[in-house]
């Protein structure tokens, strides 16, 4: 079993009156750290084709641990309503609009860059291929799948990715080792842990919500698996989850 430490900050200050919104918003933050003694060294990928371009010494970037802080990069953190329908009511007005800018993924040298991509439903995803080799970018979700071939120097725009309960899997059949995730959400409350494992989601509507944290190698990082971990956001407060331990999956 995983053991995790949770430190709940006691919220003392409440904005009484004077608040612009009756609802109120809070912040959630934390840090995901490697919970095992030994920090694994990156797995070397077996490159069995197109070595002329991909090279031979490619290491997997699925698990990136900061040697100093032991923070884990690329953990996907998102929130959901208690109804588990992906819809969060009372989105902060500043975040309500779906961003117009495109989210890009490139595959310059036989890896997806970035490996993990997060976007809002309705936002355009631009899948590029700046390499001289063709890639097929297989996006595998529960209800939606896409499998286009992207020729060298080509690109493809995807505008109709719907939010799903779990991030999409991303892969390339031509280069079997290429993998990644794409998270699509109906709301702006999602984050990716930084190199030191920290993350922060701001302007979260106050109230009870479900928290999800997922990593490619470890699976669910939060408590409660697919049912999510219930959290309570207080208006104007910050919910600091502290250090969250992550381990290898069995």
């Amino acid at each position: 079993m995983r053991s995790r430490l949770f430190a709940y900050a006691v919220l003392t200050s409440l904005i009484v009156g004077g608040s612009l919104f009756a609802q109120g918003f809070g912040t959630i933050k934390g840090q995901i750290v490697w919970g095992e003694d030994k920090v694994p060294s990156p797995r070397m990928l077996k490159i069995d084709k197109d070595q002329d371009h991909c090279g031979n010494g490619l290491a997997s970037d699925e698990l990136i641990i900061d040697p100093k802080t032991k923070g884990v990069k690329n953990v996907i953190i998102w929130l959901d309503s208690l109804k588990m329908d992906g819809v969060i009511a009372n989105i902060h007005p500043g975040l309500a609009a779906v961003p117009k800018d495109k989210v890009e993924i490139d595959q310059p040298q036989c890896l997806f860059v970035p490996r993990i991509t997060l976007l809002r439903e309705g936002q355009t995803l631009l899948v590029k291929n700046s390499s001289p080799k063709a890639h097929n970018s297989k996006i595998l979700g529960k209800n939606t799948t896409k499998n286009p071939l992207i020729p060298p120097k080509g690109e493809i725009e995807i505008t109709d990715l719907k939010a799903e309960a779990r991030p999409y899997m991303l892969g390339c059949d031509i280069h079997g080792w290429m993998a990644g995730r794409i998270g699509v959400f109906k709301h702006p409350y999602f984050a990716l842990s930084k190199a030191d494992g920290t993350f922060e989601i701001k302007n979260v509507p106050a109230g009870d919500l479900l928290l999800y944290m997922q990593h490619e190698v470890s699976g669910w990082v939060h408590k409660g698996g697919k049912n999510g971990q219930k959290i309570t956001i207080k208006a104007g407060g910050t919910l600091d989850l502290g250090k969250i331990m992550m381990k290898n999956a069995d």
């Binding site: 063709a134 297989k138 209800n143 939606t144 499998n147 060298p152 031509i174 699976g219 697919k226």
Partner: protein
């Protein structure tokens, strides 16, 4: 006597008599009328009238608009009324201005029509006269015609003038516009209210109205013109067989079952009528709307409303409430003008007539609900559009019973269970009607009637998966799998006519093994074709090398003791042959017989194996002697020897070491579990290097459960390793051991077979064999004596077992006589056993299921079942059934729990808990000596076949012989208690038994007129036949063959339409693929019913994350295998195949599981768990690609002749699969049937693609096609400005080629010149000739130069050359497929060099467009050509994406024709590194032959 004027009789007396008789007559007439008035059916019809009235009122409510849309409705109504009014006014105005213009026009129009009619009639007289060449009449008529024509022309001109005049007048008054407005308003009105108006009118008609109908329905009067009357169907062509006479069938069932054909009369709706409508909010609010609408149509009430509103308005104004006043003003202006309402002319009833009322539950009882409800399957029966309309088929042909009866009793209704018996006895004083032979079928056996016309049985499975008679099909499958037909004839033929299913054993040897002449002889008689069924048990010719006598004995004694779910029935330890139930002298017989039979089987098997080995030795001999040749010929004549491989002992096992991991992995992956189960596979294990070898929860019982295999095999009991050679040789080629086995050759290597065999034999299992007492010589002798007594004098029979036959006696025995086994002289134990064993086997009919040496010609031992379904009860021997039942069973009232039919009744479970065998009361009653019925006999016969002679004194061989079968294959579930399992198992067993009964009761051999018998179209027939072969070889064990089907209610279209999977039918489509509208994967067929969708779906694929496999609670995951087409907001939408959706579970009305694919799913799950790196996460589709491929759409995919060859001789195609297509023991006819199945299915399923079979045209290999495409392509090159560049690119190649050719020609000319010099005089002329030819060739070549090649490229090669370049483009096909000699980067897809003979051209195109439309998982192959944006790969092939796809297809299809064209190698492969060397190797070392 003198005459007197006195009356002969006393007048007073007479008066009294007259008065009395008048009174009596009056009374009797009154009684008669009363009796008539109270006839059962009349009472029912009167009640139904009320029901009907109420149902129509409810329909009015349902059709009424919602409260919210009431405003719209009233507005629409008002608009319509006003439009009509305005039109009428305009017409009036026109009339006013132009006087009688309209009437003059109409008058003229009439006149014109009259003259036209006259003219036509005279013309026809003229024509008649012309036909008879009657010139006088012709002339007369001609005059008349001319006169009329002149008049007609004149009137027409006048009419046209008037019409013009009218038109301009109408235009002046805007009449056309107004007419258009009325039309528009009518449409809008109709959309909202047409149903409502219709039902409202209907409801008023249904009302028991006025005195007239009431009067006619009164007692007495109703005898004359009653509103109630008998309704009947008459069938002259579907008569009842009264044994001596065929009598017209009258079905009067609808006299009482009045709602049978009505839509919406389901039980729930009828039950609702019993509730008080006042209590129902929905009804109350609905009725308020109805009232409102009607009020707005009534001028009087509108006047009232107007006054009321005006009063309120005035009040508001006076109070200064201006807002309110304005609002009221608006409402006032919305009111229709009472004057205009008359234009609506709707003539609707008053609201009160439509007010719903309650029908008392005492009147509308549960029984009446059942009686009045509509047929539950109107889509299949009764309805005029269904396959069985009532007016064609009636009722009794399916249900039986006396159709002409109008009383409950006389109609021979049959209750369905003991509870119904009780209820009916109470409600209807039910008793069974002995005066009608064909009592109505109880609903549990209704399906047996299907068999009368559906002789193939599997034709009852519609669309491949919709099993409409599940019980009958289950029964048929059980009869087929358990081999009932081995003993009981089920022929289905009566004087050459088909009257039922045909399940006869095939001839021995089978047709395939016969010589052509014998085969023609065997199939020559169309009235008596040979049977087709294989024996269901294993062939016992090679028993001795497979197992040992000890195991065989224990097995025969108790097969289920060894393998609980075996199909082999129990012959011993039955009520009539358990030692404790046998008389003293027979007590040792059972075990002795088992010993003897085993001995016989093993001995005969050893002899056979010796023959087989000597046959192979002799065959291998280089120079056989004459005797040897003779012996070889005699052995060759034996089918079983000829087809057999040398005995397993001759096999050399591979030397490589085996490992349990590898054996288990191979057993998991090579497809064994598609047919077998193994307990060891239920738990996961770890390999030596700690990797998981996952469990596979296989539940197939097509083949035997192999868990205890190691206990069974081996020449020595308890030493499974002695079986290794046999098991390996069996795995390598099962049909060498049993030429008719259904186990295929799964194409293992010897090493693989060795691994699997080693693993299987190492699996430990527990088993306590049933002890079999040794056979004593004395018992053997007394048994022999018993058999001999039937043949010879007692004295001899007593002597022979001890002292044996004399040589003389032996000589006299018939050549085939069993007694020959005893031999000459005193028989030893072995010979006695051979004799007793053979007799026992013959007596029990073991050869019905097993091929047994020495028993080829034996006849079936059971009673024929061809007409058993109507067997006379008087001819059935019930014997001791009743008492046996009492002493052996606990009779319980019901089997199923009435609340949940899938669970056993409490009483049933209680009986089992008490250790008793439960027996359903329903069947027990049918054994009662007063109420014996064939169902009762059959039920006990299938439960305890040996019960009927329980405790009777009979000789051993005269006892009943039918063995006891088990029909259910129940498995204990996790978390199920032993007791719960036992109760469920017994229930499932009873259900299986009932299924078999349903089948047998359906065997009535009735000659139904041909037009009623199901006569499928050629495609349907191919489907039915193919399905039988697919079932026979368990193809569905591995492959998904047909998608499942669901019926669902319409979802909220607004929300549904938002799904990203939905294509908004735009052509040309602007998305990532082309839309192929003719194909069902892109564009669905229109739905047959407006209120529901029928979808073709399969199990959604496994998810990248196993956690997500389970659907969300309340949701159902569906994966579309055909597009769904629907309309929303007037626009057509398509959810294409390959889409996945989550829909609300409660929208699903019915779902039919898919046909096949279980193992595919199991294997994918296994691989995902076993090797996450290669099959998990986003690579889950590789797990599917590794499994057996789906065969949905196989017909449109592959060419029929290729599939045929492949089925008979499969070879590896897909590099990604972990297992191989096995080679089945299939006849060419069967292979053809499978090919036809797939083609027929796709032709019907996918009408838009115009599939042809058995032949398919491939135009791409045609020179003219290639030339035409080339011309087109050259033009495209020119238009794109790439023509010159291409030519330039090719010039060096042409030059090189020219130089080569030139050199060749020069050499030839030089050689010819040399040989001319050397030639002797006699050959000079010939040599001269040769030189001239060579010179000319050289000259021609020089003259043509490179131009010739250029021309050839331009006229013939350019298209294919560039197409080839596109195909071998390093970033396209060559990534995964081999093309020509170019190896792919990675072998993932099939070798494309063979595509030309394997794929259909059209399919190839569609597949390249989007492979995901054909699969139920994401294809490993990506979408290579985008439908939008600038086309890519122009350096390889100039053209749009769809032209490129077509080019790829054309290249692949034309491959054998073009593969040797040098030009294909003239240009380097793009994206594959350096260009190939100047002189490339030939394209394909082993080119496929045409």
């Amino acid at each position: 006597m003198a005459a007197t004027d006195a009356f002969y009789r006393n007048q007073k007396t007479l008066n009294i008599i007259f008065a009395v008789s008048s009174i009596v007559m009056l009374v009797s007439i009154v009684a008669m009328f009363m009796e008539d008035y109270n006839r059962e059916w009349k009472a029912e019809q009167r009640i139904f009238r009320d029901v009907e009235e109420e149902m129509t009122k409810r329909a009015v409510l349902a059709a009424a608009p919602s409260e919210e849309s009431l405003g719209d409705v009233i507005r629409a109504e008002r608009t319509l009324a006003e439009a009509k009014k305005s039109l009428a006014e305009a017409r009036q105005a026109l009339e006013k201005k132009y006087g009688d213009l309209l009437s003059r026009k109409l008058k003229k129009e009439n006149q014109k029509a009259t003259i036209k009619a006259d003219l036509d009639s005279i013309t026809s007289f003229y024509n008649q006269a012309a036909e008879k060449h009657d010139s006088a009449a012709m002339e007369k008529h001609k005059r008349e015609v001319d006169r009329l024509r002149a008049k007609f022309d004149e009137v027409t001109i006048e009419f046209e003038d008037l019409q013009r005049e009218y038109d301009s007048a109408a235009k002046e008054h805007q009449i056309p516009e107004k007419e258009e407005e009325v039309k528009k308003a009518e449409r809008a009105h109709k959309q909202m209210l047409s149903d409502f108006d219709r039902f409202a009118k209907l409801a008023s008609q249904k009302k028991w109205r006025g005195w007239r109908e009431g009067l006619l329905n009164l007692p007495f009067i109703d005898a004359f013109a009653s509103p109630t009357r008998i309704q009947q169907y008459t069938f002259d062509e579907l008569p009842i067989d009264y044994s001596f006479k065929y009598v017209t069938r009258f079905d009067r069932c609808t006299t009482c079952h009045l709602g049978l054909e009505k839509l919406g009369y389901d039980k729930a709706a009828l039950r609702q009528l019993r509730e008080d409508p006042g209590q129902n909010k929905q009804i109350a609010s609905g009725f308020k709307v109805v009232e409102q609408i009607l009020k707005y149509r009534d001028p009087e009430s509108i006047e009232k409303i107007r006054k009321d509103l005006e009063r309120k308005k005035q009040k508001a104004q006076s109070e200064g409430k201006n807002e309110e006043a304005a609002e009221l003003d608006k409402r006032l202006s919305d009111l229709p003008d009472p004057g205009s309402l008359s234009f609506l002319n709707l003539n609707l009833p008053e609201a009160d007539i439509l007010r719903p009322r309650q029908i008392s539950p005492d009147v509308l009882t549960d029984s009446r609900v059942t009686q009045f409800c509509s047929h539950p399957r109107q889509d299949l029966f009764v309805d005029g559009n269904s396959p069985h309309p009532a007016e064609k088929f009636g009722c009794t042909i399916c249900h039986s019973g006396q159709g002409s009866a109008t009383r409950f009793y006389e109609a021979s209704h049959t209750p369905n269970d003991a509870a119904a018996v009780k209820r009916w006895q109470h409600d209807f004083q039910w008793k069974s009607n002995h005066y009608w032979d064909y009592a109505m079928l109880p609903s549990r056996f209704t399906e047996s009637a299907c068999l009368k016309c559906h002789h193939q049985v599997t034709d009852l499975i519609r669309d491949g998966v919709r099993n409409e008679a599940p019980k009958l099909v289950q029964g048929y499958n059980l009869v087929r799998d358990l081999g009932c037909f081995g003993c009981h004839e089920i022929a289905g033929l009566k004087s050459g006519r088909k009257v039922g299913p045909d399940l006869r054993l095939e001839p021995d040897p089978p047709l395939d093994a016969m010589s052509p002449t014998d085969r023609i002889k065997a199939t020559g008689d169309p009235l008596n074709p040979p049977g087709t069924m294989r024996k269901v048990g294993p062939n016992l010719y090679r028993l001795a090398e497979k197992t040992n006598a000890e195991w065989v004995r224990a097995w025969i004694k108790s097969p289920r003791g060894f393998r609980p779910d075996t199909r082999m029935p129990h012959f011993y330890m039955q009520p009539n042959n358990s030692p404790e139930n046998l008389p003293e002298e027979q007590r040792k017989f059972p075990d002795t017989e088992i010993h003897a039979a085993t001995h016989y089987l093993m001995e005969k098997s050893r002899q056979h194996l010796a023959e087989v080995d000597s046959y192979h030795t002799l065959k291998a001999k280089a120079n056989p002697s004459k005797e040897e040749q003779q012996k070889l010929a005699s052995l060759e004549a034996k089918y079983e020897v000829r087809t057999a491989a040398p005995s397993a002992s001759k096999l050399t096992l591979p030397e490589a070491a085996t490992a349990p991991d590898r054996g288990r992995a191979l057993f998991s992956e090579k497809g064994c579990l598609a047919c077998h189960q193994h307990d060891a596979m239920r738990t996961e294990v770890r390999t030596a290097d700690n990797k998981p070898l996952p469990a596979i929860a296989a539940e197939s019982n097509f083949g035997p459960d192999l868990s205890r295999l190691a206990l069974k095999l081996g020449a020595e009991f308890g030493k499974p390793e002695t079986a290794k050679k046999w098991l390996v040789s069996w795995l390598l080629n099962p049909s060498a051991h049993n030429p008719r086995t259904l186990m295929p050759n799964v194409q293992l290597t010897a090493a693989e077979a060795n691994e699997i065999a080693s693993w299987l034999l190492a699996q430990k299992a527990e088993w306590t064999p049933e002890p079999v007492a040794p056979a004593e010589a004395e018992t053997l002798k007394s048994m022999a004596q018993m058999y001999l007594e039937k043949l010879m004098p007692r004295k001899d029979a007593k002597r022979i077992p001890a002292s044996g036959f004399t040589a003389e006696e032996f000589e006299k025995l018939a050549p085939e006589a069993d007694e020959r086994e005893l031999g000459i002289g005193a028989p030893d134990d072995s010979r006695l056993k051979m004799y007793v064993g053979k007799k026992g086997i013959a007596n029990l009919g073991c050869y019905a299921c097993h091929s047994i040496p020495g028993m080829q010609a034996a006849k079936p031992i059971g009673v024929a079942l061809n007409e058993w379904g109507k067997k006379d009860v008087e001819r059935i021997a019930f014997e001791d059934a009743e008492s046996f039942l009492k002493s052996h069973f606990a009779v319980v009232e019901l089997r199923d729990n009435p609340k949940d039919k899938s669970k056993p009744h409490e009483e049933w479970a209680r009986a089992i808990k008490a250790g008793k065998k439960p027996y359903e009361q329903y069947f027990a009653d049918m054994l009662d000596h007063h109420h014996r019925a064939r169902e009762g006999f059959l039920h006990l016969k299938l439960t305890e076949p040996r019960s009927y002679d329980y405790n009777r004194i009979r000789t051993w061989d005269e006892r009943l012989r039918m063995p006891q079968f088990k029909f259910a294959r129940s498995k204990k579930m996790k978390d199920e208690s032993d007791e719960a399992f036992a109760a469920r198992e017994a229930k499932e067993e009873a259900e299986g038994r009932e299924a078999v009964m349903t089948f047998i009761l359906g065997l009535v051999a009735e000659s139904i007129p041909a037009k009623y018998v199901y006569n499928p179209s050629a495609d349907k027939a191919a489907e039915v036949r193919g399905r039988q072969v697919l079932d026979k070889y368990n193809c569905a064990g591995c492959h998904t063959i047909r998608p499942g089907s669901i019926e669902m209610k319409l979802p909220n279209l607004k929300e549904f339409d938002n799904d990203p999977n939905i294509r908004k039918q735009e052509v040309p489509y602007t998305g990532d693929e082309f839309i192929l509208n003719e194909h069902i994967a892109w564009s669905g067929l229109s739905q047959k019913k407006p209120d529901r969708w029928s979808l073709s779906v399969v199990n959604p694929p496994l998810q990248p994350n196993p956690e997500d496999d389970e659907p969300v609670a309340g949701k159902a995951n569906i994966w579309f295998m055909e597009a769904l087409q629907f309309r929303n907001e007037g626009k057509t939408r398509n959810v294409p195949a390959g889409s996945r959706m989550e829909i609300d579970q409660n929208l699903i009305l019915k779902s039919y599981p898919q046909y096949g694919g279980t193992f595919m799913e199991l294997l994918a799950k296994y691989l995902r768990r076993k090797d996450r790196e290669n099959y998990g996460d986003s690579k889950i589709n590789y797990a599917y690609a590794a499994a057996p491929p789906t065969l949905v759409g196989e017909g449109e995919k592959v060419q029929p002749d290729w599939l045929y060859q492949f089925l008979l001789n499969p070879y590896p195609i897909r590099p990604l699969t972990v297992l191989r297509m096995p080679k089945f023991n299939m006849s060419p006819d069967e292979a053809m049937a499978i090919v036809n199945y797939f083609n027929a299915v796709d032709k019907v399923r996918n009408p838009g693609i115009g599939l042809t079979y058995p032949y398919v045209g491939v135009p791409q290999r045609d020179e003219t096609y290639i030339a035409a495409k080339t011309t087109e392509y050259i033009n495209r090159l020119k238009a794109a400005g790439k023509y010159e560049a291409r030519k330039k690119e090719l010039e060096p190649f042409w030059n090189r080629q020219y130089q080569e050719k030139l050199k060749e020609a020069e050499d030839r000319a030089k050689k010819a010149a040399e040989s001319l010099d050397k030639a002797p005089e006699t050959e000079k002329a010939a040599a001269q000739q040769a030189k001239a030819t060579a010179d000319k060739l050289l000259a021609d070549l020089k003259a043509a130069g490179v131009k010739e090649m250029e021309r050839n490229w331009e006229e013939r090669e350019a298209y294919m050359a560039d197409a080839s370049r596109l195909v071998v483009h390093g970033n396209l096909c060559l990534t995964c497929h081999q093309v020509g000699s170019e190896p792919p980067k990675e072998f993932k897809g099939p070798n494309l060099n063979n595509a030309w003979q394997r794929m259909r051209p059209d399919w190839t195109y569609r597949w390249v467009v989007n492979p995901n439309r054909f699969l139920h998982y994401v294809s490993v192959m990506p979408i290579n050509f985008k439908a939008t944006g600038a086309p890519e790969n122009q350096d390889a092939f100039v053209g749009s994406s769809d032209q490129q796809i077509a080019a790829v297809r054309d290249f692949l299809m034309a491959y054998p024709v073009i593969k040797d064209w040098p030009v294909l190698r003239a240009r380097p492969v793009l994206g594959m590194g350096p260009p190939p060397p100047a002189t490339p190797a030939p394209a394909d070392k082993k080119p496929p032959k045409d």
